[in-house]
């Protein structure tokens, strides 16, 4: 172990006692830096394939079909503000399964008191199956609705955005929801409920074909923590 600390008077320690102290110190330091009170308990596992797809999208920097640049390459966050990139999977226990079902997604968010989140950019990633009817127009209108918290599927919802999808081939599509997510978080709510409709003759090409599909819908957001107290401090310019 190390010699005693001449200035603080700590006695010399055995090496393994010192090491376990250092490990506890490291754990506490990491939790503090991540603004976590304790280590998260992972109770529901995300299929590894879905995890890899989401992480790949987070870092792909790919230009979306609507020409917007995905979150990964948006404006860099100034280094003195701790920024986060978040990938959130929908709570599938509340999502209906089946090709005629509407795709209703619930995302959980938890905000610490005294802190507010600034959303720099956010998008919803949805996987749409290809149209089975090869002879019809390969473009399909997709709509994203915001459901009132706790509302039933289809009731009391507002249209967030609508866009045309190319469904010649199955594939991923992004729906920018930056303002929607910012308004949701500013409202202090916890459960963001979205409904996605890609209706083709009664079939929803965006619905899930199974709960363990690797093509699970997910939400990507680039956020920055705003410390509410800092709002009241005057800064020297």
């Amino acid at each position: 172990g190390s010699p005693g600390c001449a200035s603080c008077g700590l006695p010399a320690m055995e090496r393994d006692k010192e090491e376990s102290l250092m490990i506890e110190f490291a754990k506490q330091q990491l939790l503090d830096k991540l603004h976590l009170k304790e280590r998260p308990n992972i109770t529901q596992t995300v299929p590894r394939a879905a995890l890899l797809i989401a992480l790949r999208k987070l870092h792909s920097g790919r230009v979306g079909q609507d020409g917007t640049l995905e979150v990964a390459n948006s404006r860099p966050i100034p280094t003195n503000d701790q920024g986060y990139e978040i990938v959130s999977f929908a709570d599938l226990s509340e999502t209906e399964i089946g090709d005629t079902a509407s795709l209703s997604l619930t995302f959980q968010f938890l905000q610490e008191h005294g802190q507010s989140i600034q959303v720099l950019q956010s998008s919803l990633w949805i996987y749409a199956r290809s149209s089975e009817d090869r002879h019809r127009d390969s473009r399909l209108s997709a709509r994203v609705f915001l459901s009132a918290e706790g509302g039933l599927s289809g009731s009391n919802r507002t249209l967030v955005m609508e866009k045309m999808l190319e469904v010649q081939e199955s594939g991923w599509h992004t729906f920018p929801i930056t303002r929607t997510l910012q308004a949701f978080l500013d409202g202090g709510q916890r459960r963001l409920q979205l409904e996605v409709s890609c209706d083709e003759d009664g079939k929803n090409l965006c619905s899930l074909d199974g709960s363990d599909t690797p093509n699970q819908p997910f939400l990507v957001a680039q956020v920055r923590l705003r410390d509410d107290h800092s709002k009241h401090t005057l800064r020297k310019r």
């Binding site: 308990n41 992480l55 990938v87 959130s88």
Partner: protein
Amino acid sequence: SLRCGDDVSVCCKRDFYIKFKDIQWHDWIIAPEGYHMNYCMGQCPQHLAGSPGIASSFHATVFSQLKVNGINTAASSCCVPTERRPLSMVYFNSQHSIVKTDVPDMIVESCGCT
């Protein structure tokens, strides 16, 4: 910057690496695999004060003012980090979302005497 060996005398950087698997944290931390919680230790005798480079710390500023003004005090120079870098982390939070963030100034790269 010196790297500490077994016998520590002069200011140096002690490497200390924690593997998340060893502390059962690898289920919620996706990357990296571990954390280099290096730290500085060792003595800074008077003739080493301010070497091997000026340590960027409040203590260094005060100490150099004392020296410039020829004020002899009992204060001694300290062994502190002179270079640090961020730790990039990807982890699950309590809502099972994946979070990626760069935590600034988490890894000590080198040490020096104030």
